[in-house]
């Protein structure tokens, strides 16, 4: 005798996800009023998260009130579009809402980067090497150390980095450009910019160690 079909007789197959996530996926996968209601509910959730995140990061922005709320609406709307487009990629590794919140958090970061980019006053490619020690938190009273450090790093940059790595290093380290703003400026991705910076750090450390400024265990220059 053939085994009974577990889906026969009106018994539903087990959900692929936890019940709450399954409900979200079902709702958003349908058409008609149920889907519209689901989209509206999800948008409300995303808007709440966007507002909270912008509030949490308000120190990075010089805007408040309606402008800040406008950014929250933009982030929620863009996140909703991304979630709908990628719904088929949700694999149930987390709750659906955790997965969805990730999109709106990323959108808030992108909006903050764009805001910085449109309001920045310092050129991204300005090369004022005297800024470097201050960026690293070096003691302003240690003039000799500051001069030596800036000179050594500048030489290591000149001799070891590719033009792209140099561009990224100068923008982020010397000019304090946020990575998400640089992503927009260079038409790149966060991953590519981070990789360029990661490789630059590794190369510079090796060069400075080879020249006796740093060693493999701890800094020892004084």
């Amino acid at each position: 005798m053939a085994p009974a079909d577990p889906t026969a007789g009106g018994i539903s197959p087990p959900p692929r996800f936890d019940p709450g996530s399954d409900q979200w996926v079902q709702m958003l996968s349908r058409t008609g009023p149920q889907r519209e209601a689901g989209l509206a509910r999800l948008h409300d959730l995303l808007l709440r998260i966007a507002r909270g995140e912008l509030q949490r990061r308000s120190g990075q922005l010089r805007i408040t009130g309606p402008e800040l709320d406008d950014l929250a609406y933009q982030a929620a709307a863009d996140a909703l579009l991304a979630i709908v487009a990628k719904l088929g990629q949700f694999r149930g590794e987390s709750r659906f809402t955790s997965w969805a919140y990730k999109f709106v958090i990323f959108e808030v970061s992108a909006k903050i980067g764009r805001h910085f980019r449109s309001n920045q006053t310092v050129p991204m490619d300005a090369e004022d090497w005297e800024r470097l020690p201050g960026r690293l938190g070096a003691d302003p009273a240690q003039e000799t150390e500051r001069r030596d450090l800036a000179g050594a790093v500048r030489r290591a940059v000149d001799e070891n980095l590719t033009p792209r790595q140099r561009e990224v290093f100068v923008a982020i380290v010397l000019n304090g450009v946020p990575m998400d703003a640089l992503v927009i400026e260079l038409g790149s991705t966060r991953n590519a910019i981070y990789k360029a910076m990661f490789d630059a750090r590794r190369k510079l450390r090796a060069a400075l160690a080879a020249n006796g400024y740093l060693n493999d265990q701890t800094s020892r220059h004084s």
């Binding site: 507002r51 919140y101 990730k102 690293l136 938190g137 750090r201 701890t218 800094s219």
Partner: protein, 73 residues
Amino acid sequence: MNGWTALDRFLRTDPRDVGCGEAMELLHVYAELADTDAPAAQRYPGIAAHLAACGPCGEDFDGLLAALRGTAE
């Protein structure tokens, strides 16, 4: 901390660092584990290394964790 020590710390890289792409891909899984006090860093050491080194991804992680904990507002 003098300038050389700070520079040394800044330039150090962790070979376990998975980069932004993988960290962003699994950030919801990692944050949910962290939210339940599960050993997220032990399970995903490459993501932990990345979040410690990458300011923007670390910020996103903090934001997502705050959202999961209902402290975003």
